[in-house]
């Protein structure tokens, strides 16, 4: 009899827990900010950073986290330095990512308002750095590095999702271009402090009689032309399960850059009709998820060491949805995938292998398009940056 009562109590607890797990409405933290377009949640530093793409005198809103993961208001506005030469242009963050181990935030920013081959564009190439590194601590962010300047960086980009590989050894960046003005992606090796490692660059005009140049070190990316896979923006997302291989969002599918193989350096998995899409993943699942821009098409495909493999699963999610941001994986048993729409957030059930089960819950009531999502395993909360009108 006693065993039966204990079993009943355990069963009731499990059922209640499962219900709580499936109900996301009380775990959603919606942060409405004008022009919100990217978000990062640092559990270690106890803060949420929302990037803004609007005409304001600041570029981020920083929310301190309470002990239960709720946010303290009002948020603190934070700005990054803008060189005088480009102050007349609109400058904003377009992507951000956290280091997997260190309390560091990597930000990709861009300008708006230049014309091709104009004086403004030259000023951007000469003076504007696209990448910033911030140290996060106790609800504050302190800039520790700034780099990525020159003619091999595209400007006027809308999306700029960058990523650090799961081990924290490489920072992969979008929005590069090769000398022929074709799209490219690149990477910086990171040192043990998470800062980009300078690489040796030959000094022009120093070639000696032995055919050897003098070298200086500069923080420059190693890059690759991906024009045939992604002729326009490369900023819709990257996933780097290891330092040597990165999966990136390509036209009609996924691209993979094998940085260790010179003979077969690029691979692509394409599916007719996929269009443009964000991609996302989580270290807990060997899967890459795709969410089509302004559509309700979703896809998942396994990855093995960063190489897409086996058959994809393609599904039309909730009818009428129009995805507005990168999805975010909610690890757990079972895992889930959260997607942001124009006025809704969708939470799709996955099985333990990361396959869509066909069940989707809708969290309604968002006042404006959901432009960025982030999940906190520690607080068990979903943070949404909502693009509220100024």
């Amino acid at each position: 009899m006693r065993i039966l009562i204990i079993a009943l109590v355990v069963l009731c607890t499990a059922v209640t827990g499962a219900r709580a797990q499936g109900d996301f409405s009380n775990r959603l933290v919606s942060l409405a900010a004008p022009g919100a377009n990217c978000i990062a949640v640092s559990e270690a530093a106890g803060m949420v950073v929302v990037g803004q793409r609007v005409v304001t005198n600041h570029h981020f809103l920083v929310y301190k986290l309470n002990a239960d993961g709720s946010v303290a208001v009002p948020p603190a506005p934070v700005s990054f330095p803008v060189p005088d030469q480009v102050k007349a242009l609109k400058v904003h963050p377009i992507g951000m990512t956290l280091h997997p181990r260190l309390p560091l935030l990597y930000v990709w920013r861009d300008v708006e308002g230049t014309k091709p081959d104009s004086a403004e564009e030259k000023a951007v190439y000469d003076s504007f750095d696209h990448a910033l590194v911030y140290a996060l601590a106790n609800g504050t962010m302190v800039q520790t590095n700034i780099f990525a300047r020159g003619t091999n960086f595209l400007c006027e980009q809308v999306y700029g999702h960058l990523t650090v590989d799961y081990s924290g050894r490489r920072l992969f960046v979008p929005n590069l271009r090769d000398p022929a003005r074709q799209t490219a992606i690149g990477y910086y090796d990171l040192d043990e402090k998470g800062q980009p490692v300078p690489i040796p660059v030959p000094v022009p005009g120093t070639l000696d009689g032995y055919g050897v140049s003098k070298y200086e070190t500069k923080v420059l990316p190693r890059w690759i032309n991906v024009q045939s896979f992604r002729p326009h923006t490369t900023g819709l997302g990257m996933v780097a399960p290891n330092p040597t291989t990165v999966v990136f969002s390509a036209s009609q599918g996924l691209g993979v850059w094998d940085t260790e193989n010179r003979r077969g350096y690029l691979g692509g998995f394409f599916y007719s009709g996929l269009g443009d899409h964000w991609i996302a993943a989580d270290p807990s699942l060997p899967v890459v998820f795709l969410a089509a821009v302004n559509s309700h098409l979703m896809m998942r495909i396994e990855q093995a060491d960063g190489y897409p493999t086996l058959m994809p699963q393609i599904t039309w999610g909730v009818s009428g949805a129009a995805f507005q941001c990168r999805p975010v994986v909610i690890p757990g048993k079972p895992p889930r995938l959260a997607l942001g729409g124009t006025t809704h957030i969708y939470v799709t059930d996955l099985d333990l292998n990361g396959k869509f089960t066909g069940e989707t819950k809708i969290l309604i009531g968002q006042p404006a398009p959901v432009k960025a999502l982030a999940w906190s395993p520690k607080f068990n909360r979903l943070y949404a940056a909502v693009d509220k009108a100024p």
Binding site: G264, Y265, T309, L310
Partner: protein, 246 residues
């Protein structure tokens, strides 16, 4: 569409006594030597069998495993074509020496208790290049899965290499002899008789690890519509089966 002959196949042991349908097929093959009345008689005798036979058509959308393996991209799973130097994708299949396709159709849609009467595999060819281009269709023996590539038949959750790279192990990675060697030249749907392979898989005499399509002759290559990018319905496996014991 012209049916491809299977001259290169070895005689395999008879799995079971010949069924009436097989007898009918053999009978029809020799029909030129028989009188029309005998032919009509045979048809009447076998009519009940024919009425019970069913045919299902599986296209590439029903495939549960597929991969493109290439020597030049030894860890990629979808290296079905090289669209530019060093750039591989699944947008098309261009079979060449060192670049091959693995494809598996699940057979669970055939109800238990049947026997395979006939099976044919249709491969939509774009063009063949080189000196008498031809591809080899092999039954894959080794199990393969996530991360399959030129070097490994599986990399997740653990690395398992092929016996020889590129599923090259004869009698271990792939069958001892090819199911068929198919000559191609122009745009056409090649129909390959795969009855014995499907029969082996369906009866459980061999594990269904799908087929491997290769080009073995240096310098030749064959372009085929992609079974995964956009032309899924062009790849077909047609299987005719009938209740066992008929």
């Amino acid at each position: 569409m012209k049916q491809q002959s299977s001259k290169t196949r070895t005689a395999e042991p008879e799995l079971r006594p010949p069924c009436p349908a097989n007898r009918l097929r053999r009978f029809l093959r020799t029909r030129s030597r028989l009188s029309s009345s005998a032919l009509m008689g045979a048809l009447l005798v076998c009519m009940p069998v024919l009425l019970h036979a069913e045919t299902i058509v599986l296209d590439a959308s029903s495939c549960d495993r597929m991969a493109g393996i290439a020597e030049a991209a030894p860890r990629q799973s979808w290296a079905l074509t090289e669209i530019g130097p060093g750039m591989f994708s699944n947008g098309e299949v261009s079979l060449a020496q060192g670049r091959s396709l693995l494809i598996r159709f699940p057979l669970e849609s055939i109800p238990k208790g049947n026997r395979i009467v006939h099976a044919e595999f249709i491969v939509p060819i774009i063009w063949g290049y080189g000196n008498e281009p031809r591809f080899y269709l092999w039954r894959t023996l080794a199990d393969w899965g996530a991360g399959v590539c030129h070097l490994y038949r599986q990399t997740s959750p653990k690395l398992v290499p092929w016996t020889k790279p590129h599923a090259g192990g004869i009698s271990s990675d792939r069958a001892t002899r090819p199911t068929d060697i198919v000559r191609v030249s122009i745009t056409e749907n090649k129909t390959i008789n795969v009855t014995e392979d499907v029969e082996l898989w369906y009866t459980g005499a061999a594990a269904n690890n799908g087929w491997l399509l290769t080009v073995e002759d240096p310098g030749n290559y064959i372009r085929v519509y992609s079974p995964v990018f956009a032309y899924l319905a062009m790849w077909q496996l047609r299987i005719t089966f009938e209740p066992e014991g008929q």
